[in-house]
Symmetry: C2
Subunit: 325 residues, 2 copies
Amino acid sequence: MNKKIKVGIVGYGNLGKGVEGCITQTGDLELEAIFTRRDPASLSTSSKTDSVNNILNYKDKIDVMILCGGSANDLDHQAPEIGKDFNIVDAFDNHGRIPEYFQMMDKVSKSNKKLSLIATGWDPGLFSLNRLLLESILPEGVSYTFWGNGVSQGHSDALRRVDGVKHGVQYTIPNPDAIEEVRKGTNPQLSPEERHKRVCYVVTNDDCDEFEVENCIKTMPDYFEPYDTSVEFISEEEFKRDHQGMPHGGFVIRTGNSINSNNQRIEFSLDLKSNPEFTASVLVSYARAVYKIYKEGKTGAITVFDVPFGQLSEKSPEQLRKELL
Amino acid sequence: MNKKIKVGIVGYGNLGKGVEGCITQTGDLELEAIFTRRDPASLSTSSKTDSVNNILNYKDKIDVMILCGGSANDLDHQAPEIGKDFNIVDAFDNHGRIPEYFQMMDKVSKSNKKLSLIATGWDPGLFSLNRLLLESILPEGVSYTFWGNGVSQGHSDALRRVDGVKHGVQYTIPNPDAIEEVRKGTNPQLSPEERHKRVCYVVTNDDCDEFEVENCIKTMPDYFEPYDTSVEFISEEEFKRDHQGMPHGGFVIRTGNSINSNNQRIEFSLDLKSNPEFTASVLVSYARAVYKIYKEGKTGAITVFDVPFGQLSEKSPEQLRKELL
């Protein structure tokens, strides 16, 4: 049997927990340790844990480090630091900052002869791959990305900052009329607010004015204005029963013409009961690819655009051609 | 401006015509010539044409040859012959024979220091890529492929061999109940005939017994038995008006669990008004990739599983990361 690929996890929130679980679903990856800034003994897991301050003790024991921190606060400093000594994979998801982040990581990884794969997950990640595939194949066409149905953490946080709101969750819902129009191939011009609706479930404090809360939410600029926003007031019991999940998903759709004005349509879609666990699944597949591509001698930063799908699988090229081609 | 990638087309049926058109939609490919076994002057095109017997005259003029013949009669002898002197891409689509065909082409291309990409298109091709991606990401799950709605040439040919049939076309239709069941994540066991229906439109000769024709079709083994097959008799006028297109498409769906028995679903689907033009679009993108990968020094045979999506695009890696990641 081949030696297993040794993996480390940095950060033990929802994403880190998901990665820990996904590794057990593979036959070729093995979790060496989970690194945390908290007290390592405080994590409720049977996996080995250690302080992130001790990470260099694992320099020769870990093939790929999976960074499970957030883009906003963690990755900007963690990735270049850890990338000096380890191959890494991360889910950096600030689309606008990807070019500068890529450059930074390319420099760090190249000068330390390591490999980093940045910005994987499902968007950026699988959705990006489909945007690229679809426009390469149908150059004359239009691509659309719809998100949802799913919980937006940022918008749920915004809800909870409104005076009088005790609990709140916001679902982003793709507008079915917009999807229908896109599928027809009419290439409509659609702003994000025309493509999506926002549905909020809110539990208020006893003494608050629901009319005022609703108005305050619907007129909150950028977050809810100019979106079609609905606010439903529910009981705390209902909130705890029905709104604890982290579903998400969406569509990438492209319609285009090949030669004779033929209408061709391609769709890729996700319907996820757990957003962080799915992102974790993607990270784990790409950790395997990082290991393989590093073995081939590649260093620097790469993205999902640079990875042949064959590298994502446990199976041999022969087996893949026989079973899946 | 960069030099354009020079492309040749071998075979000028529906697929070859599609490729000719798709090349005009790109900014970086240029058609050098179309090669045919027929009289080159007889092709109705404004592109340059030549006899396939003169193909070696183009040895230094063509970067990638796109083979547009069929798997059944053409590729088995054409590909290894042309692959000695050219990089090639083809749409070999006999799934069961892919491993031996790959081995043959790998040997030919490697020993002649050329590169061949075999078996691209949409199935094999884009569907294969999705089967691979989806099972790599959700190892605990089940994948399903549905084909249709679309015209099956093989089944239409079979219809036309029935006594009394003047014109006939067969549409493969995915069974909506089966799709629904798969989407629910119940992982049903479904045979091909449980996943698909067959709908036939038939024009008969004046003197024939429609009851007998229908019975003969429905009981034809492998082709129609044991499928849920319906036969509609229509007029020649209706046939010519409504059934001349070559639509096709289908779905690859995988449902699986990440850790906490979460139901995750991924779908990739195509809805094509012209099957051969879409296959042509895919061939053209992969011809671009063959050129780039050959430039990097790779020889032998490869498949879609070996090609990073970044290689399919005209755009630079920087541009792709900025615009599409």
